[in-house]
Symmetry: C2
Subunit: 442 residues, 2 copies
């Protein structure tokens, strides 16, 4: 029998329903796994054993009395530590953080769905970076190779899923921060349509680009978690009523776009091979593959524009702390935020214009193609020690600029056996179609 | 028999169809009216007699051969001089401007609909202001009172409609520039849903807030013109596919919101009286009137945030000219644009955040109310000589922030007999419903 911590959300719910599993035992198994493996992996900043116990007990009672709240009731979930959970500090990956008085929108939703919240996860400092080499909380380790990055900024969220320290997790994604760790750790992650999932109570990085999204073992689990998270939240800073289109994509009747300018970008040979195999697989399943021309698009300058916007917006959002509690931040982060907030407005406008132009290119792509397929990152995981590539977010950022859903799925591996992720993007509101498609090609 | 220049677009089309009218005669009547009255009113920067003659002849031929292109075929239209028309300069209300090589998206559409384009209209310098006291092209005069402002920035567009110098016109609206002159001149104007009408080839002021919209004598004419203008233009900087909802609003089954924080704002007594009468009229027609609480909203600070964004975005967009052809601009405008583009990014981010918050308040209003009713401006027209109020755009800007359609209709007048405009806003995509509603309460 497989260990309890290898079960999916769907399997756990089935087990609870049949009585074969009990949320209290599952929670205990996860806390045990965390105790055993977290010291090496450093996925968690805080483990919430007491509240998790209470939640597991309540869930067990509901399952016993036939009043379970749905597929997430009793599910052991962990959340990135930039998401408010009432009664606990939100560090945002910084040296310390205020105790949250109220739940974030997504914490609300998880609790309403009966989830057992195991703890809060390590992340890149203030979510502004993609290695999770955190100066205050230490490095989260890639479960496939100690000393190598799990990606970021939601590094702990990827590690916890891949290492069996949570059945599924929440991350946040401003320029790829859900998808990069999903790719490096070898799990599934989706950045939903902008506005579909509330960002209320999530430490702001760049309001215009921020999203909360789930990471999970399977596409089915992504759908279960996303279903529980969605819904209009008038108090969310990005409150938009998103028109969901639940039509599924059929690989045999699908137009898949690949982007000339992405193909021309620098890419690790193993990633390029995996990408070609991915497109070939889609083609074999009946999809029509077309080349898209993102005229004028250059991935790195576009990503740098997004970074400037993040620095400026985060510099503004965190200005109270920057001015009065600068010791919350590392020197490097402080420099970035100060650079962002004091730079000339015209530079920010230029960056916003660039981002808008990418948005236009992406949106227009969905006239010609149902989905866009591209690697999640140009490179596979790399060692913490040594030079870090700067282009990690190059292929992820366009979906944040466009606001469209983008999913990373494990697809292939490096010569050294490390995971590689491929990315699928679709038009706004097609989130569930995208997840379903990932299920059919997995 | 009424003079030809008093006919609506609908009446002109009926006359062309029956043969009672000929586009060449109508064009001639308009050019005569322009010759007679424009020297005093200064609505036009350029009258395009030659191209208008050719267009009128082509239209006449189409009507004679039963190949007319629709209700706008032969319609004498004039456009604001920030809209490119191939072969003619686009001054953008500045000292001089480049000759446009290609048509703007909306010029394309007008030509495709068979319109006769009479000329290009005076406007506030670079569209950044609301009096149309233009330092390069002179003042456009309110046709109801010489020496008084027609509003702006699309001042010429309001004057031409109200004075019978064009059957209908196009303006642009970044923070009220279609609606303010419609209100002051006593005609109808609509700022459509963001992205519904292409802004390609329109001199950018603030891309994130810019809209092109029609001004006309009747709601029916607004609909005819808007119908010809709409459509997805992939090359427009604001290209968004807008989901139009053509459901009509029934006054007898309508919830009309008024906004507590607008009610509390400074308002001229005549405007306040007209507003009360407007709400009373809606109530008498069966509408339910509800108060909306835009918690935290203050109209003037919000408008100033929009102004800062406009200064920064326009400062960036016009930076080539600012650096190499500064003589295109007045000293005052140069100062505003330089202030905008060199200010610290954090200030711009703060303004963007404010605007976003207003967007949220407006969007959420449409959960409780079908439409929002408020005065178009806090004051009626005023003399050019003397102090100019700074709050003209206070009530218009929220619709630009929200991207939602907003229409100004004539409703009441001042003790001195000058027009007053009332504004109706609705949720995104409800443009035609809004126009229909204006028709039922006119």
């Amino acid at each position: 029998m497989p260990s309890v911590t290898s079960l999916t959300l769907a399997e756990l719910a089935a087990g609870y329903r049949s009585g074969a599993l009990d949320p209290r035992d599952v929670k205990a198994a996860y806390l045990e796994a965390i105790e055993a493996r977290n010291p090496a992996l450093n996925a968690y900043i805080a483990v919430l054993a007491d509240s998790a116990r209470a939640e597991a007990e309540a869930s067990a009672a509901r399952w016993q009395t036939g009043t379970a709240l749905g597929a997430l009731d009793g599910a052991p979930i962990a959340i990135k530590d930039n998401i408010d959970l009432a009664g606990f500090p939100t560090t945002n990956g910084c040296a310390f953080g205020p105790v949250a008085e109220v739940d974030a929108g997504v914490s609300d939703r998880l609790k309403a769905a009966g989830a057992v919240i195991l703890g809060k996860l390590n992340m890149h400092e203030a979510a502004l970076g993609a290695t999770t080499d955190n100066p205050h909380w230490g490095r989260a380790q890639n479960p496939h190779k100690q000393g190598w990055t799990p990606g970021g900024s939601s590094g702990g969220s990827g590690v916890a899923v891949a290492a069996g320290l949570a059945a599924a997790t929440l991350g946040s994604d401003t320029m790829g921060s859900v998808r990069v760790p999903a790719a490096y750790c070898g799990c599934y992650g989706i950045k939903p349509t902008y506005g579909l999932v509330s960002t209320r109570g999530v430490a702001p990085l760049a309001w215009t680009l921020d999203h909360v999204g789930p990471l999970a073992k399977t596409p089915e689990d992504l759908a279960i978690l996303l279903e529980a998270l969605i819904g209009y939240d008038a108090a969310s800073p990005d409150a938009e009523r998103v028109a969901l289109d639940r039509t599924s994509f059929d690989p045999a009747n699908l137009t898949v776009g690949h982007v000339r300018q992405i193909n021309q970008a620098d890419m690790h040979a193993d990633v390029r091979d995996a990408y070609e195999a991915f497109l070939e697989n889609l083609h074999m399943k009946g999809a029509k593959i077309v080349e898209l021309d993102w005229d004028g698009f250059a991935a790195s300058p576009a990503r740098r524009a997004g970074l400037l916007i993040s620095e400026a917006e985060a510099g503004f959002a965190l200005s109270d702390d920057l001015d009065s509690r600068p010791e919350r931040f590392s020197d490097g982060l402080r420099d970035m935020l100060n650079f962002g907030r004091t730079g000339p407005a015209a530079k920010l406008v230029k960056a916003e214009r660039q981002v808008r132009e990418v948005r236009r290119l992406v949106r227009n792509s969905f006239i010609e193609a149902d989905v866009i397929a591209l690697p999640t990152t140009p490179m596979p995981p790399f060692p913490f020690d040594g030079e870090h590539p700067v282009t990690q977010a190059d292929f992820c950022a366009p979906a944040n600029f466009a606001g469209c859903p983008a999913l990373s799925l494990p697809s292939g591996e490096t010569a050294g056996g490390l995971p590689i992720g491929m990315q699928l993007m679709a038009d706004n509101g097609r989130d569930f179609g995208l997840i379903g498609l990932a299920g059919t090609i997995a």
